[in-house]
């Protein structure tokens, strides 16, 4: 990212922060610029998020919600969950996204108002964020899991959830009784497999296990974790 671009973004960000502070004086100290390598980004308080997003859509031409996701900072961190909205204006400034982020008030039962009413696109994004992080979007018309099945007990993108998964029951007890199959943790065999970036020699940059000293046949040597 060149300095010129990040400078434009800083200017854009401070412009947006100033506008929002003026419009929402009661939340002014909680509206802050957000560190970002590319697009302008602002932090807003959760209780004013709905009003701010509606204002951005109606008065600033952000008619499109291009993404909605969340960040889990870490188990034990506070605030732990941050919801992020990526807004796009196709009429005024196509190509530049505005990133708006708000921390969830609760670290154990995170909640955030749903924006499905003002951007219908949010419907499935919020269902996915709920599925993966367990963030409840209040006012959502149909908040069900979207990728995992109803009744799955975990939220897989939370930091404490292992990549390999956990032993569990199949979604269908009849099939489980018939086949004796269960959810099992996937064998990681030294994975996750990561590509080394910035290496133009594809033979060397292709994904490899971080630790290749063990596999399914040769178990991992006992030792300190990590």
């Amino acid at each position: 990212m060149s300095d010129a671009i990040s400078e434009t973004n800083t200017t854009a960000t401070s412009g947006i922060v100033a506008t929002l502070r003026e419009k929402f004086p009661q939340s002014a100290e909680k509206i802050t610029p957000r560190a970002s390598a590319d697009h302008p980004a602002v932090n807003v308080p959760a209780d004013a998020a709905m009003a701010i997003l509606t204002y951005l859509r109606d008065e600033h031409g952000y008619e499109m919600l291009s993404d909605l996701t969340a960040v889990d900072w870490a188990e034990g961190a506070s605030p732990r969950f941050t919801v992020v909205w990526h807004l796009l204006s196709v009429t005024i400034n196509p190509g530049v996204c505005l990133r708006v982020a708000a921390d969830c008030a609760s670290d154990t039962e995170p909640e955030m108002p749903s924006v499905a009413d003002i951007w219908p696109a949010a419907n499935w994004h919020e269902r996915e964020t709920f599925d993966m992080f367990g963030i409840v979007f209040t006012g959502h018309p149909d908040l069900r899991r979207i990728l995992m099945w109803d009744g799955y007990p975990h939220h897989p993108l939370r930091k404490e959830f292992p990549l390999a998964g956990m032993d569990d029951e199949l979604p269908d007890p009849e099939v489980e009784a018939e086949t004796k199959a269960r959810l099992v943790a996937a064998p990681m065999a030294g994975g996750p497999f990561v590509a080394s970036t910035g290496n133009l020699n594809l033979a060397e940059s292709e994904p490899r296990a971080k630790d290749q000293s063990w596999s399914e046949e040769n178990p991992k040597a006992e030792g300190p974790k990590g």
Binding site: L147, L163, G165, L170, D172, V175, A181, V184
Partner: protein, 173 residues
């Protein structure tokens, strides 16, 4: 059925309109040359399965061109793609709805072992819920590999004791 022994082959002058053979051979000959696949296309492998069904590779040459999207009309499930835990029970239920005798081909790395998806959501091989007859390696396998698997399965079917199986309870389906 075809044998090098001239004595045992059909001679219309001697035998009239009668053919003498083994029941197994007849049943297996019929079954192996008219396999109706159930295309269980779950991911990218499904595209390659379509390729095998198209004009260039033409799975019809081996008698398996009648892809049936109803389990009740098919006898070979080709599991082509990634088996997620969410989908797995449905696959098993579709398999259960197929009439016996039935066979299963696990096509590609994903269906055989979970493939590159070593993750919480993917079943590590469809053989955990289905009795797989033939596995195809590859990601995705080329259509030739599917045809090869089909030929292997035909060979397997031709070795089955079909006549005996007709009278066994568990095969009555």
């Amino acid at each position: 059925m075809v044998t090098a022994n001239k004595e045992a082959t059909y001679n219309s002058a001697i035998e009239g309109d009668i053919v003498v053979t083994r029941l197994d051979a007849v049943i297996n000959w019929i079954r192996s040359n008219s396999i109706w696949p159930m295309p269980m296309g779950l991911a990218c492998c499904g595209i390659e399965l379509m390729g095998a069904g198209g004009a260039r590779f033409d799975i019809a040459r081996f008698g398996a061109e009648v892809m049936r999207f109803s389990p009740r009309q098919s006898d070979c499930m080709i599991v082509a793609g990634t088996v997620t835990y969410k989908m797995a029970p449905h696959i098993r239920r579709i398999y259960d709805q197929m009439a016996s005798p039935k066979w299963v081909i696990a096509m590609g790395a994903c269906a055989s072992t979970g493939g590159m998806y070593r993750s919480y959501s993917t079943m590590q091989g469809v053989d955990r819920i289905l009795p797989v007859d033939v596995y195809i390696s590859g990601c995705p396998p080329r259509p030739e590999a599917i045809l090869d698997a089909l030929i292997k399965m035909q060979e397997k079917i031709r070795r089955e004791p079909s006549a005996r199986m007709l009278f066994k309870e568990e095969y009555k389906g």
